[in-house]
């Protein structure tokens, strides 16, 4: 007879955690290969194309870094929210609200103010927009016991519709020839890029700094500790006198605010005007959830996992062209990797022993 028993593993070393991630990803790649094989695509070729396309060429790598900017910003913010077990899946909406706020700022003051003033103003406005959109579900959860998964999801749609209303209505640009979208931002309100790429470096620096600062906040400050207690042991938090409303409001203001910053980067760094919501957010808000998860909810690791998943996005575009695969292929890769990461977590936290007994 074979017996499988599982018991809690109390000591988790950093090496074990890292190796579990590596094995999970490898196992995920095996399954992805099988899916490619069934679809009639040479898996080795497809997977090497993905990584060639994203990390194997200078052009590809520049694109990877470009797409990593919003993923790092949002992913880092999500690590904080998820640590407090606040399941913010509304980063799409928070990004869009940041884009709306910063576009308004840029269009209104961009012609009157120099770049050094208007750019920080736009980032501040974007953070504010994302933060406001982030604290609504926090209030709804703490005050009215409304599940944040639902409220953040609803707010994604509401924000997307508000944005569309603006760009087909009052904000519709005279230079768009009747098509939805605002006019281009004034030159002063546009982020400069590293020549020959689309990397808007101001946002990149901001993203790296935010990830670093957030790591210190989570591990070294009283607020970071309180956020973790709210998530891990709310009962103890109540006895310790933690103000749940205040802590949740602050952490969602940060999480939403960082998504808002990503929205500023997309508008002022990539598109230069506010267009349809789907083109502004590009699903970064959802991809960033995997980024945060792969980073084991550590903002600093979100930099690495952000670059990795940006690479998959860029590589996914590459195989669409070279292998004629549909856009959704990236979703298969992301979904499968995520499932295997979850499974890996189980084996990280539980010790599985198989014993054989003779009967």
């Amino acid at each position: 007879m074979m017996h499988i028993t599982s018991s809690d593993r109390y000591q988790i070393t950093r090496l074990r955690s890292f190796m579990t991630n590596v094995f999970s990803m490898a196992a995920g790649l095996v399954v992805i290969s099988m899916i490619f094989l069934i679809a009639g695509v040479n898996p080795l070729f497809a997977i090497s194309e993905i990584f060639q396309g994203s990390f194997g060429s200078v052009y590809g790598f520049k694109e990877t870094v470009t797409k990593a900017i919003p993923l790092i910003l949002i992913g880092a913010g999500l690590t904080l929210a998820f640590r407090a077990k606040f399941w913010n899946i509304g980063a799409e909406g928070q990004l869009l609200m940041g884009a709306v706020f910063s576009t308004w700022t840029g269009l209104t003051f961009g012609n009157a103010l120099p770049s050094v003033v208007i750019i920080p103003l736009m980032f501040a406005a974007g953070f504010l927009g994302g933060a406001l959109w982030g604290i609504i579900p926090a209030i709804l959860k703490i005050k009215y016991a409304i599940n944040e998964v639902i409220s953040t999801l609803m707010l994604n749609y509401i924000c997307a519709h508000i944005l569309t209303m603006l760009i087909v209505g009052p904000w519709k640009g005279a230079t768009r020839f009747g098509f939805p979208g605002t006019d281009n931002l004034p030159d002063a309100a546009i982020l400069s890029v590293i020549p020959g790429s689309r990397i808007h470096y101001a946002t990149l620096v901001l993203a790296l700094a935010c990830a670093a600062i957030l790591t210190i906040v989570i591990y070294r400050t009283r607020f970071g500790y309180e956020a973790r207690v709210v998530g891990e042991n709310p009962e103890a938090g109540k006895y310790a006198g933690i103000n749940f409303l205040k802590t949740t409001l602050i952490l969602m203001a940060i999480s939403g605010g960082l998504a808002g910053l990503a929205g500023v980067g997309e508008v002022a760094g990539i598109h230069h005007y506010l267009g349809y919501p789907a083109s502004v957010s590009s699903g970064y808000g959802f991809t960033a959830i995997i980024v945060a998860w792969l980073a084991k909810l550590n903002p600093l690791y979100a930099i690495i996992s952000g670059i990795f998943f940006a690479g998959i996005l860029v590589g996914g575009d590459a195989i669409q062209i070279s292998l004629g695969l549909p856009a959704a292929t990236v979703d298969i890769v992301n979904g499968t990797l995520l499932i295997f990461l979850i499974m890996g977590d189980y084996f990280l936290h539980n010790k599985i022993t198989i014993t054989f007994t003779h009967t």
Partner: protein, 306 residues
Amino acid sequence: MEDIIISTLQRTMVAGTPLLLATTGEIICERSGILNLGVEGVMALGAVTAFIVTMTTGSPWLGVLAALAAGMVISIIHAFASVTLQANQVVSGLALTMLGIGLSGMVGKPYVGKPLISKMDDITIPVLSDIPYIGKALFSQSPFFFLAIFLALVSWFFLQRTRLGIQIRSTGENPKATETQGVNVFLIRYLSVIIGGGFSALAGAHLSISYSKSWIEGMTAGRGWIAIALTIFALWHPGRAIWAAFLFGGIFVVQYLMQPLGISPNFLAMLPYIATLLILVLISLKDPRKLNAPAMLATPYKRGER
């Protein structure tokens, strides 16, 4: 005028049908304590499966069965992750959505934009369908419409009155106590997730072989997420889900009618989501217990834990 009322009503019923199917499934799933955010992905997979099978075999009903099977099979992934591995259900559900959308996009690529020849005939109930105004809308509809209402009513009865239904509900409320009654909590949760997946896939099948009679990537258009919201809007009750689904369906139809009147379609499209949040706030203000959420929703159950 009469024509407008009839066609609005009729399109409301059509728009509400997939919402009702998916919502009923999610209610059963969540009643067992498992949150499944994979509805959108499973719906997409159901849509593509139903379309391909209907196209190749020429039989829409085979397509429906195939979609049902595909939806149930892929949902096992979520059941395994959230029940056996006690994983985070939010993350696992999102993974299922990504996988479902990805797989359907890949499998369906050769079929994009192809028209479906074999049709599913509308069912017209004699006499009743002659009632002025509502007759045609309510009693001459796609089989999916009748199926959706029938399944919602059956699920209502199933959850309230049958032994298995009560076991599902008590698993969602208190899995430990349920287990001491000799019920296999794991099995109940697996079953609920799989049934829920089947419902989502049926909703997808409606979209591809009855509603639009074609397949295109992204055709589910967020309906799966709406079903998750509707589950709460209906307060986890299949009977209320019927009203909720057709109310939302109605708002989708009306938003196009209002456009010529100068009311922004985006404003109207936003209303269902705002209404959901408002209603949740109102219920919570009145009496949070009335929210009626399964007590152990999204909480993994670990055997032998005190």
